[in-house]
Symmetry: none
Subunit: 248 residues, 2 copies
Amino acid sequence: MVEKRLYHSVANQILELIDSGVFPTGSRLPGERDLATKFGVSRVAVREAEIALQAQGRIEIKIGSGAYVLDASNKALNGLPKVGPFELTEARALFEAESAALAAPIITDEAIAELEKYINIMSGEVVTDMSADEADEAFHMRIAQSTNNHVIIFVIGNMWKMRTEAAELQTVYKSVCDKDGSHRQDEHTAILNALRNRDPSAARAAMRAHFTRMIEALLVASEEAAYEEVKRKASESRSRFTLTQQLH
Amino acid sequence: MVEKRLYHSVANQILELIDSGVFPTGSRLPGERDLATKFGVSRVAVREAEIALQAQGRIEIKIGSGAYVLDASNKALNGLPKVGPFELTEARALFEAESAALAAPIITDEAIAELEKYINIMSGEVVTDMSADEADEAFHMRIAQSTNNHVIIFVIGNMWKMRTEAAELQTVYKSVCDKDGSHRQDEHTAILNALRNRDPSAARAAMRAHFTRMIEALLVASEEAAYEEVKRKASESRSRFTLTQQLH
DNA sequence: TTCGTAAAATTGGTCACACCAATATTGCGG
DNA sequence: CCGCAATATTGGTGTGACCAATTTTACGAA
């Protein structure tokens, strides 16, 4: 465990103490001077370590008070929270529907053409080096980009990363996608048509429908397979999302 | 443009130079001693700034060689994108409205009570150690938490961070908030009432109205003051957002 | 005793200076 | 022109000091 820079080593030692429960979440860790003595390094090294940990969101440094351990329970290494498939899909349903509605009036013909291309790739009509999954992502991201809003692009991009990086989701999503290819195709086409007509309401509805059916497919998959964790969360989300749907 | 800690300010100045193209991707930035002189701070401050930037994956520090700018395409993890006030507010209007609609049917009485408390803090009726701005954030975040959806909580929390961390936004927002205290109060009350009635549509509408008026206030502010950069972006967003509004 | 406030101690923030180690550059000899 | 050593540059670490924000302590008034 030899690091190139001293503060790396110090930061790791601090993290070990945190993860081992010596410094529980919310607690205040010893002062920089104490830690320096304890680790046998200078205060500068401890300080740099704490700055790095703060930049990673593991601790919070308060002037004149001390450094406090933040709750890292629901944070993955990349900074994105680890979430379940239902809440992710629910959030995507809401946010991507608004994204599509916002993009509809201002989407360019070029973007429309690209979306059409991605649909053809997903259906297998066009052969490229792009996988169906990549085309799916490109399809959704292209719509987000058509809003010309960097925040929306950022948010939807992050949600896709959550989907990609969560191992639990991968398993569930894959089993779902294998058996709903034709549905997905129809839904994407519906979204494209709404955008082609520059109809915000239709785009919103089509996008919502897309994710709504995805949630239903997830429910089926969670009952077939033995995803105990998923099942548990499903019972929570099912009633909630039904409520959301009846609003439209 | 005043940050709490010096190294934070230095890090932002370095980021500006990177994003403005002065230090392109892959290039080596000036030595710590040079930057310290240029920014008028000590070498320690520059060093801490670079450590923070390294922890965020923006630069790579090589011993004896220098600090090199990394490809920012992989950012967006811990680092938030720099955004303008209009696109941020537009995104918040869309996302927070859906958040409120989703929370409305399932919000607890405890949450309602808390929201009421935050409103009173903002109006000054209740005196605590919490500032009006902090109460404002707590109000919006409490609604997001009431969705029980970690993705939504994460997204809305991130948008608030963007608002806090963007220096440009601070100036504009501040000038707006100074003169719309009463409006904000009424709007928050309207949101609360909709949630109290467990009315999703009303909650969505109230939240949209809240941000719609904020955008209008931003437009006024951008015309009064000499925020050239803001003005330019305003002309883009004005027409777009008008279109969004007519959907409801 | 209880409470509020002022003094003292603690803690993070910043700085200047010094020295070491890794890396780049220079310059000399071949 | 090339290779290598001397030199300069740059990041890494340490020490000590002082400031500012915060917390704790202590003391005096009610």
